[in-house]
Amino acid sequence: MKNRKLLTGPYLFWAASFIIIPLLMIVYYGMTDKEGHFTFMNLARITTPENLKALGLALLLSFISTLICLILAYPLAMILSEKSVNQTSFIVLIFILPMWMNFLLRTLAWQNLLEKNGIINMILEFFHLPDQTLINTPYAIVLGMVYNFLPFMVLPIYNVLSKIDKDVIFAARDLGANNMQTFSKIIFPLSIPGIISGITMVFVPSLTTFVISDLLGGSKILLIGNVIEQEFKQGSNWNVGSGLSLVLMIFIIASMALIAKYDKDGEGTAF
């Protein structure tokens, strides 16, 4: 038994040096000013109008993106779960394939497509249609979020749906439920753990992203992620950046608490 405990050593070392210590450092920076005195000022910086606006916009856009992902992903996951395993693995591959490409590259590709002189406007021009302002809009950011994070919504829902015993669905039909009732009373409630974990897996990265808003939103649209990035890189104010990060963490922890409440058996988080 002792030897086995020894084997956990590298993981403990990893966890300590790359998870716990950095987290403590963020807490330290977030709770101190430049001279190292304890303060709540950094946390309070969230209340400035600009930062509140950035947080509000980030919450709004993440919420919209998550909703769109859910609407797109659920039917897809249902179709996938009804296919045989051979067919599914191919379709799942198609969906995962873009994820193997660099995240930055994918977003840059959208930048090229949406730009003022980008590919979409070129095509519009070719047909003598008026130019559209696509880039540097909240819509472009939402598009980027949906495109990048959609697979994270599809997979947990697919995972849960494909685990539902066909006989359970037959049983509902057998007891008199029509297709709609079977869906609303059986399939949907049973898939909630997958939906919850899909929502977190899309909502959390959407809320904290700064790359997507940077590339597709220009410098005009600031999300809370951009504000934090600027504090660290341009303002070199690690204290304020950490403070804002801590505030963001509270939002994320709240959403995790929500999962823990609904996803009791942890099925949805299998992915």
Partner: protein, 357 residues
């Protein structure tokens, strides 16, 4: 036990190349406990699923109470199914599970409450209303599945190997429970199993199936005592199936000797198969038997001894409460009514003979 309730006419079902049911005909009477018995892959579950409406036959008709229900979806059929793995709704309490069908039909709250209470009492699980399916044992879950089906007052209850996942003792208890339920409810049970003992214990009628064909239909006694072909004889209980020649009515030649039997109508000097159940072979002193043999194996099975006796180059399986040690020379006797004569299968596909009712 009189009227035909379900008439299954010329049902054929295939999955791709694989023909699961071939021109199958069967009728099920009111209040009957009918068991579809056969090895896995014989088509029994497919037939049940066609009755339930979960599979569509390629051709043929299902007539229920005089009406063709081929195109009726499962939710419109007057029958309910108990699934092999219970298929309870894990996100609902026991009471909600049982109430599911009634709520969909728009019954009143009071009616539903009464029904839940009645059904739980019927399956001996009173007071389990607020438990979740996960917190129940396999046997309890199965009883809830039965309760959930019967509250809808179906004319027919379809049961798909409902006891398959339970251990032996529980299975035996549940067999009696099911017989009691069937008698109390007075409805038709169609029961699918591969367990011959289950079939013999509970059924009014057993339908033995193999490779998509019905092999024999009859009461448990008929099926056990008078199997119509080698497959049925082999599948139901242990048996010795011996090549034999019918010399004339009531006289058969096998194991190098001539035996008296009770079967008639096979013609003269016709090759046949003879079935003798292991418990019907009497071992006696060598000079008292019709033929002689030597005991080659002996196993104690609890209720009886199982022996193999070598006689004229045939290994005979014998069950007896008397013990004969290995090497003992014995005489072999069989009462005439314990020899069951069967026609030799005509086709090569010996096990899959379609027979006329």
């Amino acid at each position: 036990m009189s009227n035909k309730l379900i008439d299954i006419v010329n049902i054929t079902k295939s999955f791709g190349e694989n023909v699961v049911l071939d021109e199958l005909n069967l009728y099920i009477r009111e209040n009957e406990f009918l068991t579809l018995l056969g090895p896995s892959g014989c088509g029994k579950t497919t037939l049940l699923r066609i009755l339930g409406g979960f599979e569509t036959p390629n051709s043929g008709d299902i007539i229920f109470d005089g009406k063709n229900i081929n195109n009726l979806p499962p939710n419109k059929r007057q029958l309910n199914t108990v699934f092999q793995k219970y298929a309870l709704f894990s996100h609902m309490s026991i009471a909600e599970n049982i109430a599911f069908g009634l709520k969909i039909k728009g019954k009143t709250k009071g009616y539903i409450q009464d029904k839940i209470h009645y059904a739980l009492k019927l399956v001996n699980l009173e007071g389990y209303e607020d438990r979740t399916p996960d917190s129940l044992s396999g046997g309890q879950q199965q009883r809830i599945a039965i309760a959930r089906a019967i509250v809808n007052e179906p004319k027919v209850l379809l049961l798909d190997e409902p006891l398959g996942a339970l251990d032996l003792k529980l299975r035996q208890d549940m067999q009696y429970e099911l017989i009691r339920l069937k008698n109390e409810l007075g409805i038709t049970f169609v029961y699918v199993t591969h367990d011959q003992e289950e079939a013999l214990t509970m059924s009014d009628t057993i339908v033995v199936m193999n490779q998509g064909y019905i092999q024999q239909i009859g009461t448990p006694e008929d099926i056990y005592n008078e199997p119509q072909n080698a497959f049925v004889a082999d599948f139901i209980g242990d048996s010795n199936i011996l090549p034999a020649t019918m010399v004339e009515d009531k006289v058969v030649k096998m194991l190098g000797a001539t035996w008296q039997c009770v079967d008639v109508g096979f013609g003269r000097n016709k090759p046949v198969d003879a079935v003798i159940r292991p418990e019907d072979i009497d071992l006696v002193k060598p000079e008292e038997g019709i033929i002689e043999g030597v005991v080659t194996h002996l196993i104690f099975k609890g209720v009886h001894y199982e022996m193999e006796v070598l006689a004229n180059n045939y290994e005979l399986l014998v069950h007896s409460t008397d013990m004969f040690p290995v090497g003992t020379e014995v005489g072999i006797k069989v009462d005439p009514f314990d020899i069951q004569i069967m026609k030799k299968p005509e086709s090569e596909d010996a096990e899959a003979v379609g027979i006329e009712e």
